[in-house]
C-alpha cells in the first residue's frame, strides 16, 4: 500500500487547479483555515488533534520522479506543469492550536499562509489528517469523562477503517486520556503503553479452560488477564479462584466480553472475593462506548477497567465531522463563500479565549488575526517557511493539556448529554469585514 500516504493521496482537482494556476501564473500568498462547521448532535466540544502528522506531511511533501511519471500517465497534465512539480515543496507558514486544546464550532484549528499552489495542494490530506484525529479524540474523551478514572484501553484496531486509522485512533485516544492500546504498532511508533489479554480461540485451542489459563499464566507470570466467557462465566470464575496460588500461578485480572456486564461482574466479584482473590481485577469489553461505561459506573459495577473498541475507533455515532479547509484571503484580498448553508467568514482569523472568575473557560471570541483582545490567543505559530518551530510535543504533554482543560470546562459541557452551546462571539471588526466582503462579492457577481 505504498501509494497510501504519498503526495498523490489527494483529490484530482487539487492538481488540475494547480495546473490552471501554473498556466495563469497565479501564486500570490493565500490563507486557508481548517475549522469544524458544526458539532455532531452528541458532542459538546472538540479536542484538537492531528497537528503532529500535518506538520510531518507538510515538511516532507515532495513529488518523486515516479509520482510525476504516474501523473504524466494520466494524460491530463502538460509537461511544463509536471516539471514545475519537481521542485515543489511546502514553504509556507502555519499557525495552529496546540493538540489537546478544547475547541468549538466555527473556530479555526489551523491556518496556512503560503503561495497559492502550495496552500491549495495540501487541502485534501490536511483535512484527512486533522478531521480524523480530532474526531477520535473528541469521541474518546467522552469515555474518559464517563469512566471516572477507571482504566481505559483502545481495543479497536480490527474494525478501524484500515491501517492508518488503527494507528492514529490509538494515538488520538491516548492523547484524550486513555491509558493505552492493544495495537502493537501504536506502541512501537508512539510509545503508547500496550495492553492485551487473550482471545476466545486461545481457550478453545486448549483441551479445557484450566489448561489454557495455566499455560498463559506460566508464560506471563504476574501479567495475566484471563478471558472467562468462552463457555460459562461463573464456572470460569470458580476455576480462576481454584487455580490462583496453585503451582505459583498468579492472575492479574479476568476479562468479560459478552452478556450483561454489570451482572456478570457482580457474580464474578462475589466468586473471587469469596475465594479470597480480592486482588484479581475485573476488566470488561464488548461493544462498549461512553454511554455503556457511564451506565456501568452509575450502577457501581465492580469493574476496574474497560476495553473500548469499534465504537470509539470509528466514532460510530458520528463517524465524520462537518469540517472544511477554506480560502479566507488571496493576495491580501479577504474572501468568503456565500453558498447556502456553507457561508464562511473572510480574512485570517484568531480565536481569543477568556476565563471566568473561577479560572474556567468562559467565552471565546472569533476575531481577525491582528486584533487586540483581553483573551488568550489560541492559534500560535508552529511552522515558518516550511520548517516547524519546535519538535513535536510529547504525548504526555498533550494528555496533561487535555486533563487540565477538562478541569476548566464548565460542568454541563463535560456531560455526555447535549448542553447549551459554549458561547463563541464574533468580533465587531470581523462582522464588519464579513458584511463588506459579502456586499462586494454580491455586487461583482450579480
Amino acid at each position: 500500500m505504498d501509494t497510501a500516504a504519498s503526495v498523490l493521496l489527494t483529490d484530482l482537482y487539487e492538481l488540475t487547479m494547480l495546473q490552471s494556476y501554473y498556466r495563469s501564473g497565479m501564486n500570490e500568498p493565500a490563507v486557508f483555515e481548517f475549522f469544524v462547521r458544526s458539532l455532531p448532535q452528541s458532542r459538546n466540544f472538540l479536542v484538537a488533534a492531528g497537528l503532529e502528522q500535518v506538520l510531518e506531511y507538510l515538511q516532507t511533501l515532495a513529488f518523486s520522479p515516479e509520482d510525476i511519471g504516474s501523473l504524466q500517465a494520466l494524460g491530463r497534465f502538460d509537461a511544463g506543469f509536471l516539471e514545475s512539480l519537481r521542485d515543489l515543496r511546502f514553504g509556507g507558514d502555519v499557525d495552529a492550536v496546540p493538540e489537546g486544546t478544547i475547541m468549538f464550532p466555527g473556530e479555526p484549528l489551523l491556518r496556512v499562509r503560503a503561495p497559492l499552489r502550495e496552500a491549495q495542494l495540501v487541502e485534501s490530506r490536511v483535512i484527512n489528517l486533522l478531521q480524523f484525529q480530532t474526531m477520535i479524540a473528541s469521541k474518546a474523551v467522552r469515555s474518559v469523562l464517563a469512566a471516572r478514572g477507571k482504566q481505559l484501553v483502545d481495543f479497536g484496531m480490527r474494525r478501524a477503517h484500515g491501517a492508518e486509522a488503527a494507528l492514529l485512533s490509538a494515538r488520538a485516544s491516548y492523547l484524550a486520556g486513555f491509558d493505552g492500546s492493544a495495537t502493537v504498532a501504536a506502541g512501537v511508533r508512539f510509545g503508547i503503553p500496550l495492553f492485551g489479554t487473550m482471545a476466545h480461540s486461545f481457550v478453545q485451542a486448549h483441551q479445557n479452560e484450566a489448561e489454557a489459563f495455566a499455560a498463559y499464566a506460566r508464560t506471563f507470570p504476574g501479567r495475566t488477564t484471563l478471558l472467562i466467557d468462552t463457555y460459562d462465566v461463573q464456572a470460569a470464575a470458580r476455576l480462576v479462584a481454584r487455580l490462583a496460588g496453585q503451582d505459583g500461578l498468579r492472575f492479574e485480572g479476568v476479562r468479560i466480553d459478552s452478556g450483561d456486564l454489570a451482572d456478570y461482574a457482580r457474580e464474578v466479584r462475589a466468586i473471587l472475593d469469596g475465594a479470597g482473590c480480592r486482588e484479581i481485577a475485573i476488566f470488561a469489553s464488548s461493544n462498549l462506548d461512553e454511554y455503556q461505561v457511564q451506565a456501568l459506573e452509575q450502577a457501581r459495577a465492580p469493574i476496574q477497567g474497560y476495553g473500548i473498541g469499534t465504537r470509539m475507533n470509528t466514532s460510530a455515532d458520528a463517524p465524520f465531522l462537518d469540517c472544511a479547509y477554506k480560502l479566507v484571503d488571496y493576495a491580501g484580498r479577504p474572501v468568503s463563500k456565500l453558498s447556502t448553508g456553507k457561508a464562511t467568514w473572510p480574512g485570517a482569523k484568531q480565536v481569543f479565549r477568556r476565563d471566568g472568575l473561577r479560572g474556567e473557560i468562559a467565552t471565546d471570541c472569533l476575531a481577525l488575526e491582528g486584533e487586540q483582545d483581553a483573551g488568550t490567543p489560541l492559534l500560535v505559530p508552529v511552522m515558518r517557511a516550511g520548517r516547524p518551530l519546535a519538535a513535536p510535543e510529547p504525548l504526555a504533554t498533550l494528555r496533561e493539556r487535555v486533563r487540565l482543560q477538562l478541569e476548566r470546562l464548565p460542568a454541563p459541557l463535560r456531560a455526555l448529554a447535549p448542553a447549551q452551546p459554549y458561547p463563541v462571539t464574533i468580533s465587531p471588526e470581523l462582522q464588519a469585514l464579513g458584511q463588506q466582503v459579502e456586499v462586494r462579492q454580491r455586487l461583482m457577481h450579480a
Copy 2:
C-alpha cells in the same frame, strides 16, 4: 507512517498468545473463519470485498529484524520466541468467496487453514482488511442501485479515516459499481478512472467567476466541469451559458454543491437549455448518500451524475460490521463458542447457494465443508501453502460480478428499505455437529 501496514499492525494478544503456544509447543492445524454476525439495520445484503489485500498481506507477512527489535524492547517476549518469529511466514491454505459476491449474515467469507500460530497471528489484520472493504462495498452498492445508471464518483478522500481508508474505499466503491474516484492515488494504484472539478477556493482566488471559468476551460479544453455555487447559482449558470462558445470555450458540465439540489438543478437546466447549452451536464454533490440520490432520482431532477463522499467512505449510517474471525477447528477437533449473543457454529464450513426458477439467488445453505449439496459452493480455494492460486482478479471482473449478481438478487433485497431476510438454512449435519460440540463443551466445563 511506516509502521502502519507492517506485521506489527496487530493486537498485542496475538503475539502473547503466540508466545504461549510456542512455549507449549502448540502448532497443530487450525481452521478460522471470517463472517459477519448480523447486518446493520439499513442493509439487506453484503458485497464481499478486500480479498486481494488479504492475500497480499498473507503472502508478504514477515518480521524484519527491526520488528523483532521493537518487540524485544517491549520487554514481554523471551529470546527463543522472538527468534522463532524470524522465519515465520504464512504457509497456510485459504478458501474464500470471490470479491464482489453477494453474501449474508453468518456465512463465512473466508476460511484459513494453517498451523495454529500462523492462523492466529493474522486475525487482527485480516479482520481489519475484510471488514472495511466489505462494509464500504455493501454501502456503495446502495447508491449504485439508487442512481439508476447515473454517473457516481467517490468524492470522500478527505473525510475517510486516514490514508488507507481513502485508498481502499475508492477501490471498494468502484468494485461495487461507482464510475470512478477523485482520489489520485487510487487511480494510480488500482487503475480506477479519475474525476475532478474545481474547489470554491479556485473561484474565489480569481477576481470573478468569469475569469475562473475561462482559465479552467482553457487549461482543460473539453474536460471542464465548473463549480457554480460559490456565490449565486443562477447568476453563475447564466454566466456559463454566456461564456460557452465564446473564444472557443467548451464546458462539459457544471457542479452544484449546496442548497436544494433538485430545485437548483431544474433552474440551472432551464437557464442552460434556454441558451442552447443542452450538452452541458449537471453534476451534484454535498453530503449525498443513497437516500438523497434516490429522492433526487424519484423527483426526476435533471442531474447526470453524483459525487458521493463522506457518507459512503465512512459508511456513515453503519460505520462498522459486527464481524469476527473465529476458530472452528483445532487439530481435527471442531470447536464453538457459547458466549451470550456470540455463539458460533463449529467445524470448517461451506456455503451452498441454490438458484430459483428464474435464475435468481433463492436460498443458501450453511453446511460442513465436505458435504454434498445441489447448490453451488461459494468458497473456493484461493491460496495453498501460502501461495495464491491465481493472480488477483481485475477490478473489471469484480465489477461485472457485482452487476450480474445484483440482477439475480430478489427485488425486495435490492431496495433501500429493510426487507424480509434472505433465507440461509443450516444443514442437518452442521446442526448435529453444533449440538454435539456444545454438549461436549458444557460437560467439560461444567
